[in-house]
C-alpha cells in the first residue's frame, strides 16, 4: 500500500501535463472512495441548495411558464399564430426540432461511443450529458407534434390496427422520424437509468431521513452490488452502448432524410446525413460545456470535472466543427458543380438574398469563432470556452434556420415567393422550450446524482492500482 501511494505522489506532477502538452488529470490528487461519493452524493442529499440554484431555477421556471402560455394559445388558435406561410410551411417548429435533437446527440455519444473506445474521461460527464440528451429530445419531440396542426391526433403516426383501416405510410421519412426519435428517447432513458441504479443504491445507503431512504430505495430496486449484479449490469451496459452507437449516428441521419429525400434545392443533397450528424455532435458538446462550466464552478466539482475534460470536449468540438465547415463548402461547391440553375440560384439567394446577413452570421458564429479552439489557452480557460460554446449553440440554431427558411422562401416560380418573419409566438415557443430544458436540468441536479458515483469510485480504484 505504502509503495503505491508514494509512486502515485511522485508521478502526480509528471501526469498533470501529458507529453503532448495537454492537461491530463482525470481526478484531482487525494480523492478517495469516500470523498468522491460525498462530493457527488451530498449535492442531492443536503436539504438546501445554493442561492444560485434557486436564482437559476426561478429564471428557468419563468421561461417554462412562457412556454406553457405560448403552447396553450397555439392549441386554442392553431398554427396560424406562427409566422409560417406557403411556401415556408416549415418555420421555427422544424428549426427548433432539428436544433434540440442535435443537442441531444452529445449525451449518447459520450456515454456509448466513448465507453466503447475506452475513453475514461467520459466518467465525470456522462451522467449529466445523458440527462441533457433526454431533456433535449423531450423538447425536440414537442415541436413536430405542435406543428401538426391537430396535435391531439398525433397517435395516427403510430402503427396500430385502427377502426379506419389505415396504416402509416412507411415509405415516408416523416414516419421514420417518429420511430427514430421515439427509439432514441427510449434507449437513452434505458441507458441513463441502467447507469443510475448503483448510484441510487448509494444514495439510499447514505440518506439520513426515512423519506429519502424509501424513495431512493424504491428507485434502486434493491440493488446490492453483488458480483452477480455487477456482472449482468456491466454486460447489459456494454451491450446498450453497442446498440446506442449506431443509433446515435442514425437519428440525425433520419432527421436529415426529412430534408434530403425531398426535391427542394438546398435540401436534396447526399451530404446531409454525415453533415447533420457532425453538426449534432458539435452542438451537443457546445451545450454540454454551457451547462457544465457553470455547474462545476457553483458546486465545486473542479476536482472531478477537470481541465482535461474541458480540453477534450473542446477538441471534439473543433473536429466536428471542421466537418460542419466542410459541409458548408461542399454545399456551395455542389450547387455550382451540379449545373442546376435552381441549385445555383438557391445558393446565391442564401448568401446574398434577403436572408444573406443571417448566412454570414452563421459563418461567423459557427466557422470563424470556433477557430479560437486551436489555442490551448482558450480550451483550458472555462470562461472563454463558455463563450465559444455559446457562439456554437447559437450558430447551430442559425444553421437550421438557414437550411429550412432560405431553401423554402424562394420557390421554383417567383410568383410563389414569400418571406418568412417569425412572430412573437415563434420566439415565445423557442425561448419557452429553453425554459423547459433548463427547468428539467435544474431539477435533475437537485434530485439525482449528476456524476456517475460508482464509475468515479472505479477511477479512484484504477488510479490506486496504477492502471491510469
Amino acid at each position: 500500500m505504502a509503495e503505491t501511494v508514494s509512486t502515485e505522489v511522485a508521478n502526480e506532477p509528471a501526469k498533470a501535463i501529458s507529453p503532448l502538452g495537454y492537461p491530463s488529470q482525470l481526478l484531482a490528487p487525494g480523492e478517495n472512495f469516500e470523498s468522491v461519493t460525498e462530493t457527488i452524493g451530498s449535492i442531492v442529499l443536503r436539504p438546501r441548495q445554493p442561492k444560485s440554484w434557486i436564482f437559476g431555477a426561478a429564471i428557468a421556471f419563468a421561461l417554462l411558464m412562457i412556454f406553457f402560455f405560448a403552447v396553450s394559445y397555439l392549441l386554442y388558435r392553431g398554427v396560424g399564430i406562427w409566422g409560417i406561410n406557403i411556401p415556408v410551411a416549415w418555420g421555427f417548429a422544424i428549426v427548433n426540432f432539428v436544433w434540440w435533437i442535435g443537442i441531444g446527440h452529445a449525451g449518447t455519444f459520450i456515454s456509448a461511443i466513448l465507453l466503447l473506445l475506452h475513453q475514461k474521461w467520459r466518467t465525470s460527464i456522462n451522467r449529466l450529458t445523458e440527462a441533457m440528451t433526454l431533456f433535449a429530445v423531450a423538447c425536440a419531440g414537442m415541436f413536430p407534434l405542435l406543428h401538426l396542426g391537430r396535435p391531439f391526433v398525433f397517435y395516427w403516426l403510430l402503427p396500430y390496427p385502427d377502426t379506419m383501416g389505415l396504416w402509416p405510410q412507411f415509405r415516408s421519412p416523416l414516419v421514420w422520424d417518429v420511430f427514430a426519435v421515439g427509439t432514441y428517447f427510449t434507449v437513452s432513458l434505458i441507458f441513463w437509468y441502467a447507469g443510475l441504479i448503483p448510484d441510487l443504491a448509494t444514495l439510499r445507503d447514505r440518506a439520513k431521513t426515512r423519506a429519502k431512504k424509501i424513495t431512493f430505495g424504491i428507485l434502486a430496486l434493491g440493488w446490492r452490488g453483488s458480483a452477480k449484479h455487477w456482472q449482468n449490469h456491466q454486460s447489459a451496459y456494454l451491450l446498450l452502448a453497442g446498440l446506442a452507437t449506431p443509433l446515435v449516428l442514425s437519428v440525425h441521419s433520419v432527421v436529415s432524410f426529412d430534408f434530403s429525400v425531398a426535391l427542394v434545392p438546398g435540401w436534396h443533397s447526399t451530404i446531409f446525413p454525415p453533415y447533420f450528424v457532425a453538426g449534432a455532435i458539435y452542438s451537443g458538446f457546445a451545450m454540454v460545456l454551457n451547462i457544465i462550466i457553470p455547474i462545476r464552478k457553483l458546486y465545486g466539482l473542479e476536482n472531478l470535472i477537470t481541465q482535461r475534460h474541458l480540453n477534450n470536449m473542446a477538441v471534439v468540438m473543433l473536429a466536428t466543427g471542421m466537418m460542419v465547415a466542410y459541409g458548408y463548402v461542399m454545399e456551395a461547391f455542389m450547387a455550382w458543380y451540379s449545373g442546376d440553375i435552381f441549385e445555383q440560384f438557391m445558393m446565391a439567394n442564401r448568401a446574398f438574398g434577403p436572408y444573406g446577413w443571417i448566412f454570414w452570421a452563421l459563418m461567423l458564429l459557427n466557422v470563424l469563432i470556433p477557430q479560437l479552439l486551436w489555442s490551448r489557452k482558450i480550451r483550458t480557460n472555462p470562461v472563454a470556452l463558455f463563450f465559444v460554446a455559446l457562439s456554437i449553440n447559437i450558430g447551430m440554431w442559425v444553421e437550421r434556420f438557414v437550411i429550412v427558411i432560405t431553401s423554402l422562401n424562394r420557390d421554383f416560380t417567383p410568383s410563389a415567393w414569400h418571406m418568412f418573419y417569425p412572430t412573437i409566438w415563434d420566439w415565445a415557443t423557442l425561448f419557452g422550450s429553453v425554459g423547459l430544458f433548463a427547468t428539467l436540468i435544474f431539477l435533475f441536479i437537485r434530485f439525482l446524482p449528476m456524476i456517475a458515483i460508482s464509475e468515479s469510485r472505479k477511477i479512484v480504484h484504477e488510479r490506486k492500482e496504477g492502471k491510469l
Binding site: 402503427p159 383501416g165 420511430f179 427514430a180 458480483a227 455487477w230 454486460s235 451491450l239 446506442a244 472505479k458
Partner: protein, 179 residues
Amino acid sequence: MNVNENIYGLMAEFPGGKEILAAAKSAHEHGYRKMEAFTPFPIEGLSENLGQKKSFVSSIVLICGIGGGLGGYFMEWYANVISYPQNIGGRPLNVWPMFIPITFELTILSGALAAIIGMLALNKLPEPHHPVFNVPEFERASTDKFFLCIEADDQKFDLNATRKFLETLKPEKILEVEK
C-alpha cells in the same frame, strides 16, 4: 454441522478490491460455493473467482434484437403490401430500401429493452429486501467497503469453522447476517 436457523450467512468486510479478489479466490478453493461478494463498483475477475457462470444477457439481447428487426419488417410489409396497398406512381409495394430505417430502429429498440429487462430479471430485481441489508455495516458496501458473504445454505457451512476460515483471510470485521 453447526447451523443456526436464524443465520443467513457470515460476512467478512475488506478494505479494497485486491483483498476481496484474493478472499473470493481462497473461499472458492476451500470448497465454498454458495457465496456472494458485494463491492461499491464492478471489479474485474470477481465473478470468475467466485466460480459464477458467465452472464447471458448478451444472448437475450441478440435474440430479441433479431426478433425486433424481423417483426419490424413484417409490420411494414403487412401494412403497406397486404393490408393497405397504395400505388404511388407505380412504385413497387414491397420497397425494401425504404423499410430499412424502421427495421433498424426496431432492432435497436427491442435489443435495448431486452438488455435492461434481461439484466433486471437475471439479477432478480426489483427485490426490495434481502437479508444482507440486516447488517448495519453493509451500508458501506455502496461506498468504500467490500464484503464476502458465505451463505448458511452452503454444504460446507459451519458457523465456527467458516468463521475461522474467514479469519485466515484477514478481514477488517466478521459479521453475522440474520435472516
